[in-house]
């Protein structure tokens, strides 16, 4: 693609070659279908699919080649300018963020805020929160973690088990879930954080799988593959959101309004919105503290940091613990929203989705995370009917966005303090 040319004969030739390769690839996988029959496995030829696949690739490649000059203009351009010390990058993201937060706050009051939309918005917000939490680890501290769902699972299971065994409520368990996830984060992080970036990624992936296998097999505590059901719903300052309650007033009795199940959905929506905003606030503020500065510096150059007296291990550990704590909070919320959890919800794919949100959004960019979460989680929710194609589109989006904008949709890797490169130094 790098040498794609705009002249027509060249583009045609290139597209033809691509179509040839596509036909070769499609021949075994698309050309024959393995069909289960009573006599065992049988082959069902459908060779007509091969030229169709080749034709699609031909058309796509040709269009891409012809559009290449226009696409090139869209690519990231390096900022040019005189060297200057930027203490506070532009305030624009701040206003965008405030506008988005206000829009999110009033959503349930607007006519759009019906049950369906709120449900989906809650789901998107869970991922926004997870994305912001992981952003602390990946975006700020530069630690690639592929097992984030494990900490999410720890938070969810901590709440579900505590609620089941000791009858604790959502609000009591919320801090415990976060703390549990952070403790797990410290336990994992302590030995492995000195590893290089990609090794760290694989080790955390391995850890995520270990947690999942343990959840699946430690049935006496976790319910095994059946999971835990009947996780309690959150209350509003101790008032349950139920039609009636044996002990105390319920929410609708207190406010003297008729009971409606939508009230609980609105409450869930506001709880996750609050949690997400807290996550956002913490990660925005911590960037201005020495700890956050140290993380960003470590991300850029670890050796320089060490020679400046920053302890890399404890810095990374603190970032890891904070990031995993937010996963724990989100897990706790997830458990209360679903009312049911099982290891199915915490597979590697979950980690990949969260990481994709962070990276596609542009690492370090808070607004980018929201955008990517809406794109990757929200949009597919609307196209549930196309569930089969959903995951392909999701994977393809990861590849394409990386190819198109390797730094993410909104490249936010700007350090909080920066000296613009110029010939002055």
């Amino acid at each position: 693609m790098a040498h794609a040319s705009s002249s027509l004969p060249k583009a045609l030739k290139d597209a033809f070659l691509a179509a040839l390769v596509a036909a070769l690839l499609a021949l075994p996988m698309l050309g024959f279908r393995l069909a289960d029959t009573a006599q065992g496995l049988e082959l069902e030829p459908r060779l007509s699919w091969v030229p169709i696949a080749a034709a699609i690739v031909f058309a796509g490649r040709l269009a891409l080649n012809l559009a290449a000059p226009w696409l090139a203009k869209w690519k990231d351009r390096a900022p040019a300018g005189k060297p200057k010390l930027i203490l506070r990058p532009s305030r624009k993201p701040l206003y965008v963020g405030i506008a988005m937060a206000i829009a999110a706050l009033v959503l349930p009051l607007t006519p759009f805020g019906d049950r369906n939309i709120l449900d989906k918005a809650t789901l998107v917000l869970i991922y926004v929160m997870l994305g912001w939490g992981l952003n602390i680890v990946v975006g700020l501290a530069g630690l690639l973690v592929l097992g984030y769902a494990a900490f999410y699972a720890v938070g969810a299971y901590a709440f579900a088990i505590l609620a089941q065994v000791y009858g604790l409520t959502f609000w009591q368990c919320l801090p415990i879930s976060g703390a549990m996830a952070a403790i797990f984060g410290l336990l994992v992080g302590f030995p492995v954080l000195r590893l290089r970036g990609d090794y760290l990624a694989i080790v955390t992936l391995g850890f995520g799988e270990i947690i999942r296998v343990i959840l699946l097999n430690f049935a006496s505590l976790t319910g095994g593959p059946n999971g835990i059901s009947g996780v309690p719903r959150p209350s509003f300052f101790g008032m349950p959101m139920t039609p009636s309650s044996p002990n105390g007033t319920t929410f609708h009795e207190f406010f003297n309004i008729p009971f409606s199940p939508v009230q609980r959905i609105v409450l869930l929506y506001y709880v996750i919105l609050l949690l997400a905003l807290v996550t956002n606030m913490v990660s925005l503020r911590i960037r201005r503290l020495p700890a956050g500065r140290a993380w960003e510096a470590l991300r850029e150059d670890e050796i320089a940091c060490r020679s400046l007296g920053i302890n890399p291990t404890s810095s990374k550990l603190s970032a890891f613990a904070l990031g995993t704590a937010f996963a724990g909070f989100a897990g706790c919320f997830f458990a209360t929203r679903q009312g049911f959890i099982s290891p199915e919800s915490f597979t590697f794919l979950e980690s990949a989705v969260i990481l994709a949100i962070v990276v596609l959004g542009g690492m370090g960019s808070q607004t980018g995370v929201v955008l990517a979460a809406v794109l990757l989680v929200g949009l597919p929710e609307w196209f549930r009917d196309l569930a089969q194609y959903r995951m392909i589109a999701f994977g393809a989006a990861m590849v394409l966005i990386m190819l198109w904008r390797p730094k993410g949709l909104l490249a936010g890797r700007t350090p909080t303090i920066r000296l613009n490169k110029g010939d002055a130094i």
Partner: protein, 305 residues
């Protein structure tokens, strides 16, 4: 003792398969420093292609098992290798020299695409294959309580792996392509200046890795007798563990690591609990990375400014 021997045989067979996959990881990592996350799924594609090839060969009326095996092997090699080439061309080439995580993310995306594509076009059900090679040599002495069998299939897998390894070592050590590849691995920029077509060398690396993964896929199909779209993930993780254990970037290391991982898995399933066999493998990975990040045969990496 007999039980232990049987587990060792099973472990070596598994290890041979893991080793073949691990080579793909280790070569790609050695040459461009990225973890080819989709490599396990390339193996899965290889398994599907060999399953389809078996049925095609059967439909064409080839009944002699050795001939059928050779044809299927060639088919799996060629088609899987072209998948490896295409994946590199589409998803990785443009990201070379980009910031470090970009190729990894792209690879994860590619892995998701491959898995779901196969699920879509071939269905999510597990695909069974009747055993093609059965029987074996009874190794145990007469009258012993636990019979030890060395299956013909196991012999085939081990011999084929050794042959491939020998050919591969020759390719890397003696041919001009191998020389170009080693040069690229040492210093890509310099190799480029000296007239080596680096793009082509990297493409060939992916092709070779994928071809070996295709053979591994064929072995998995024959050995387990079932294939589904998800087998690539776990097998890929284990093979990656093998590559890291042996020292990533080192070819004999990949083989040794594969062997060790196969043995660990077989012995753990034999003596420990079969549910936790994946945990054992991942725990090994974590321990190796903690205490010997350069692996058993790898060169320690010096971090420089």
């Amino acid at each position: 003792m007999n039980y232990f021997l049987q587990q060792m045989i099973n472990g070596v067979t598994l290890g041979a398969i893991y080793g073949l996959i691990a080579i793909g990881y280790t070569m790609v990592y050695g040459i461009i420093g990225m973890i080819n996350f989709a490599h396990g799924d390339i193996m899965m594609i290889g398994a599907f292609i060999s399953l389809i090839a078996f049925l095609v060969v059967g439909a064409l009326g080839v009944t002699a098992v050795p001939l059928a095996l050779v044809l299927v092997l060639l088919g799996a090699l060629v088609f899987t290798a072209s998948y490896g080439w295409a994946v590199e061309r589409v998803a990785y080439r443009r990201l070379r020299g980009s910031f470090k995580l970009a190729p990894l993310i792209s690879a994860i995306g590619m892995s998701i695409v491959l898995q779901n594509m196969v699920q879509l076009v071939q269905g999510a059900r597990v695909k069974p294959l009747q055993p093609i090679i059965t029987g074996g040599i009874e190794l145990s002495a007469a009258g012993s309580d636990y019979p030890v069998t060395l299956g013909w299939l196991q012999i085939l897998i081990i011999v084929l792996t050794i042959a491939l390894m020998a050919g591969f070592t020759f390719l890397i050590q003696r041919t001009s392509l191998g020389r170009a590849q080693r040069a690229t691995e040492q210093d890509m920029g310099m190799a480029n200046l000296l007239g080596i077509n680096v793009d082509r060398v990297i493409s060939m690396t992916f092709v070779m890795g994928a071809a070996l993964a295709g053979v591994a896929g064929l072995m998995v199909t024959l050995y387990y007798g079932v294939v589904d779209f998800y087998i690539g993930f776990v097998a890929g993780m284990k093979a990656f563990t093998a590559a890291v254990l042996g020292g990533i970037g080192s070819l004999p290391g990949a083989m040794l690591g594969g062997l060790l991982i196969g043995l660990i898995e077989a012995l753990w399933s034999g003596y420990g609990s079969i549910e936790y066999k994946d945990v054992a493998v991942f725990a090994v990975l974590i321990l190796v990375l903690m205490f010997r990040p350069s692996g058993l045969l790898g060169k320690p990496e010096v971090e420089k400014v």
